[in-house]
Amino acid sequence: MRPTAAAILLSGLAVTALVATRLWAVGVIAALLLAVCLRAGRRAKPYLWGTLWSAGFVFILWPLFQSRGYHVLWSGPSIPVFGPLDVTTEELRGAALNALRLAAVGLAFAAYALLLDHDRLLAAATARHSVLAAALATRLVPTFERDARGLVEALRGRGIAPEGLRGHAALLSPLVAGSLERGFSLAEAMESRGFGRAGRTRVPAAPWRPRDQAAVVTAVALVVVGVLWL
């Protein structure tokens, strides 16, 4: 499938998950996207961790910040500002729905970052500069992860083991500085390779095939169904 068609289909799934209100429908979309992401193997790990932790936090915190529903499952203390920390069936349902929505959107992004050929997406884009920036930003995640591993490994090689949240947080500043340095080198290389010059051409793109068109139609249909019936 062409990356453009695949990106539209992933966007369609994410939008449907956001507009749908039926728990099972959002759950099915999230499960489908999870199965897609798992095709990337070990590379999927940081994306899955990030997405599932975020969704987990939403699920835990959501009922505590809501006060609705009559079917109380647990009655907690009343805390100033937050009010009573009761958990109701309705709040749990809302928490699950929003956690699944967040998971679906995160997994759609993960599938885009892990499985799509960003170069071909870029080749098909009209706003090339914006899409190139997006493609470079997408590559930043694995680069950042590799740099972080490298910093920790170098420290271990010096006999220093960064411990706890504070120890690892101290590495954030050198990580960002390293990333900026890399960005500077990359910008220099891009300029020397003619980036930004007038009269740019592009490699001819492959023609759209029926399944690419089907993917786009499916994406639009999913959003419509999501708005009207899910």
Binding site: A135, L151, A154, G159, R193, R200, T201, V203, P204
Partner: protein, 445 residues
């Protein structure tokens, strides 16, 4: 008419002393010019001036004139010179823009407006020319460092430039890889300017040698004359491979590796054994991808073996390849003191030639200085087992000799394992050399 002409160029980066002083140089079509000089001598700046990146990209004070293919770089942006000039920079990872090999090589061709139908044939021809025709659909993150360096060369060659600029392009390759790289890069009709710290290979291909010192040209001569000048005035630059150092008395076993196997996804090491003794320096050599770094990490305790055992008699420290990983503090001396205290840190900085740089920010150091800072950060820990992975990357020959002397002088009661592709350095530093070979399953030779 000269392809490139530099006339009385003096250039200083913003708020810095001049990096180039009154430099004049001509490059003829088809000529191979080799730039030599210590770290910070101005080689990379001269390469960037020929590409128009100095002063357009870096800013600074620019006096004199640089003309490439009849165009004055003061009036022509680097983007406009692209295609006429192509540059391969030192670190391949910092110049790759796109994710797929074929798209990466096509990037420059698209930018300079090559006709769409001609792009893919040119890309495929360039990939075939550098021996990686089968990698077109691969992701740049999945290929080795050596292959990535070839991708960068293919990206430059695909443009069919009149002037090819190579800024230490073989820093990550073993001797055979570097030789193959030069064979591929210098096979065309383009004028070529190569900046190098490891001159042995490049000297064989150069028509002319230019030696820079403190931003000035101190030698500009045909190769044969240059070789004679180097032998007389800068002997460290004419590498002569010597025998190993005379055997020294060594102590008890400091680290014992027995029947170790290791795999990431594919097997890397299979039933490898190695013994390091106190007081000796062992050089671990072998081609790229043979598992040298993996074995070094096992020795240092950064990896755990899947099978077999690694026993160390004391603490271990390891210097990894990328000096950028040793820049976590705001001052040079604090960076080194992270593994010790300030007094010892300053003494170690002096030992590696960085006295006077204590208060500088580590990121303000040059590449060569960063290498030395990284070395100081592991030496200061005074480990029982010291492991150094390619410590001569970006280090000029004179510094290399100093480094070999420093390591040998500091051996004391420590066992030192040096992973290196640099045969001359291996011979200069080691008491014993261990070669790792890459067959179907690597084993020690």
């Amino acid at each position: 008419m000269a392809l490139a002409r530099v006339e009385r160029l003096t250039f200083a980066y913003p708020e810095s002393a001049p990096a180039l002083r009154d430099v004049s140089l001509e490059v003829e079509p088809g000529e191979v010019v080799l730039l030599l000089g210590a770290s910070g001598s101005g080689k990379s700046t001269l390469v960037r001036a020929l590409a128009g990146l100095v002063p357009w990209f870096h800013g600074g004070r620019f006096e004199g004139r640089v003309e490439v293919a009849g165009r004055d770089t003061r009036n022509t942006r680097p983007t406009e010179l692209a295609g006429t000039v192509a540059t391969v920079f030192q670190d391949p990872e910092d110049q790759v823009v796109l994710g797929r090999v074929e798209a990466e090589v096509a990037f420059g061709l698209e930018n300079v407006g090559t006709s769409p139908e001609a792009i893919l044939p040119l890309v495929r021809r360039a990939l075939a020319a550098v021996g990686i025709a089968g990698l077109g659909e691969r992701s740049v993150t999945e290929i080795s460092g050596g292959e990535l360096q070839r991708v960068c060369l293919a990206s430059a060659l695909a443009l069919e430039p009149e002037l090819l600029l190579l800024d230490e392009p073989t820093s990550q390759l073993d001797a055979a890889g570097a030789e193959a790289f030069f064979e591929l890069a210098l096979g065309g009709d383009a004028g070529v300017v190569i900046s190098e710290q490891r001159p042995a290979n490049a000297l064989r291909y150069a028509d002319r040698v230019v030696f820079l010192e403190g931003g000035r040209i101190v030698l500009d001569a045909p190769r044969e004359d240059a070789l004679a000048w180097l032998a007389e005035h800068r002997p460290a630059w004419v590498e002569v491979e010597t025998g190993l150092n005379a055997a020294r008395a060594v102590g008890e076993v400091a680290c014992s590796v027995e029947d170790v196997s290791f795999a990431y996804e594919a097997p890397v090491l299979n039933s490898v054994s190695l013994e390091l003794r106190r007081g000796e320096v062992v050089a671990l050599t072998g081609p790229n991808g043979s598992g040298k770094t993996t074995l070094a990490k096992l020795v240092a305790g950064l990896l755990e073996p899947k099978a077999g055992s690694v026993v160390r008699a004391g603490t271990a420290a390891m210097l990894l390849q990328d000096p950028g990983r040793y820049l976590v503090r705001e001052r040079v001396d604090e960076e080194v003191a992270l593994g010790s205290d300030l007094v010892r840190a300053r003494a170690m900085l002096a030992a590696v030639g960085l006295a006077g740089s204590e208060a500088r920010h580590p990121r303000d150091l040059s590449t060569g200085e960063r290498e030395r800072l990284a070395l100081a950060t592991v030496l200061v820990a005074e480990p029982y087992v010291l492991v150094l992975d390619e410590p001569t990357r970006g280090v000029d020959p004179e510094r290399k000799h100093e480094l070999a002397s420093l390591l040998r002088a500091q051996t004391g009661g420590r066992a030192t394992l040096v992973v290196t592709n640099d045969r001359a350095f291996a011979r200069a530093v080691a008491d014993r050399e261990v070669s790792i070979v890459r067959e179907r399953e690597p084993a020690l030779a």
